[in-house]
Symmetry: C2
Subunit: 348 residues, 2 copies
């Protein structure tokens, strides 16, 4: 009725998620002195009397980010909080509050929503975070969860994405690829279940993978470990879309290149064996799988002795000049340009 | 597959939105000293070094909160920001930052999303607010907008809902009911358009109503006016669900009663004439229509001379003891118990 029918049409998938965000927000000017950092990092940074505040938000959509046929609602609630807290930790801050908004269709009962909130509650307790608000509304289809997390940090402790320097070491926490493989295992079981509803899934051999998919933990511990080790990363990001995509964010924003060594990428034995079973390349999974919620950071070489031998941390490469590009050095010594093939929320 | 099939089923509509929020959040304990106020007011209040921060969030769902057949995307973007800023002003604070998350289905083009962001941008500029983050993702159906607004206030300036006192005056800004009637007019035009796509709507007689529905303004000006008048309300809330519902929030949370005078409720002439045309009771519309985004507040009687004659402010009643209940005194002098028949997001 009021719609302009002659408008040109650009498909959103042409831009991709980050392209779209950049495109849409490029004309917004910062007007407040308290806004230290707006769009473009894991979290926004606000300043109040020398104390800085971190703000981040994520939207999870049924059928896009989760499938309730194998994701119990309690786990979903827990995971939805983790996804947000991870962004606060990726700024080297401590999460303190969250708001939770949900939209639910009438196929959800109170008991179902209670289960969801049980998971949210568990996450709040485990990570010492206050639920301070939200909105609850109906949806025409499915479930939506929008969480905003607020955190704090001293100004001098905050770590951005755009401050990596050539020769810094590239470090990753934990191991990679398991959450994506967990999803593959669960989807296979779902197909089996659809054919034979009496089948009882035996997920023993995939327990770690499934746990990484259904109940990820944000790396609050790493913020503390780094503080105890007296290491302040030069740049940091969390791994939600896959190692490649996150490395490229650091390289692009810091205007640097990097060499990532395939043989150094930390993989759990279940990742290796399941990749063989599914005939998948484990490096590809680590690079592009996503949902690991580990932290990727860079440190000055001087700090290497402090982190050496720490079981949580693996040096996987180093930062280089921008002219070098962002490369994967394969086990065979071949150099391949890194591309972001991470999960793209806007792919058709 | 993992779902528990024996769970009991309670329909969400039995509880209603506020019942559901209370129910879901009652077991969450506040853990941070910085959390001054969590769930239960227009915005959460966080404290950092004596400066207090306000946080509020709203989720708008296509088909539930808006209909794109008569809501231009630019207006929708603007309105989505207003809905949130209104909550900050209702705390007597100043909004400073927002995050915007959207989920879009692939029927939306880039140009459509740009239009939405144009409205958001316009709102940010007009209200001096920074866009500091968000999330952009795909949805399986329709458009969803989740906005979180952050604001600031001095501790001593913040006005809650639960601090109204007997004998305080009940004051409302602007006039009521127009946004709801605007929606009725637009829905009527939509039906006409569906029958005859060549019809050209003439909305001249309803311009104010339609503007109130499509482009509401949050009452930032009132926060300034009250400051200039040296009036600090004793309690305040914004009118999103209708006057009745908001008065009852103040009464319940402050443990007081009230008498609201029907003849005092401010109505625009277009509201009166359109109510006649649609055979609607204008008082019912003002009480239950919602989406006015005006402010409702209580002041001490001593402050009456300061607000007397102000064209933005209307005294519509007074607070009483809890035992009196919350009543509407009709033009005929009849006393009727107020009930919240405001828009209920979770009604079936």
């Amino acid at each position: 009725m009021i719609e302009n029918k002659n408008q040109s049409r650009t498909s959103l998938s042409e831009l991709g998620e980050f392209g779209l965000i950049n495109h849409l927000t490029q004309n917004f000017k910062i007007q407040h002195k308290t806004t230290i950092k707006g769009v473009g990092d894991d979290a926004a940074v606000l300043e109040i009397k020398n104390k800085q505040l971190l703000v981040t938000t994520d939207l999870l959509v049924e059928g896009v980010h989760f499938d309730l046929s194998y994701m119990p609602l309690k786990h979903l609630g827990y995971k939805a909080v983790m996804v947000n807290l991870s962004d606060i930790y990726a700024m080297n801050g401590i999460a303190s509050q969250i708001t939770v908004s949900i939209a639910v269709s009438n196929r959800f009962t109170l008991e179902a929503i209670e289960e969801l909130y049980e998971g949210i509650h568990l996450a709040c307790n485990a990570y010492n975070v206050d639920l301070v608000g939200g909105d609850t509304t109906s949806s025409t289809t499915g479930l939506l969860i929008s969480i905003t997390a607020i955190g704090e940090a001293k100004k001098e402790d905050i770590v951005y994405r755009n401050t990596a320097k050539p020769n810094d070491l590239l470090v990753v926490t934990g191991d990679l690829g398991a959450a994506y493989l967990g999803l593959q295992v669960l989807e296979r079981e779902k197909r089996v279940f659809e054919v034979n509803p009496n089948s009882q899934p035996d997920l023993t051999d995939y327990s770690y993978l499934v746990e990484r998919q259904l109940k990820p933990e944000a790396r609050k511990d790493i913020v503390k470990i780094l503080k105890d080790l007296d290491v302040k990363p030069t740049a940091m990001i969390d791994i939600s879309d896959g190692l490649s995509s996150e490395i490229l964010h650091i390289c692009t924003q810091s205007k640097v290149g990097c060499n990532l060594y395939e043989e150094k990428i930390p993989l759990d034995p279940q990742v290796i064996s399941t990749c063989e079973e599914f005939d998948l390349n484990s490096t590809t999974i680590a690079l592009s799988g996503g949902e690991d919620y580990e932290l990727l950071f860079t440190i000055s070489q001087e700090d290497f002795p402090k982190i050496k031998g720490n079981p949580h941390l693996t040096v996987i490469g180093h930062i280089a000049d921008e002219s070098v590009g962002a490369n994967l050095i394969t086990r065979a010594g071949q150099q391949i340009t890194l591309t972001a093939q991470g999960w793209n929320a806007l792919r058709d």
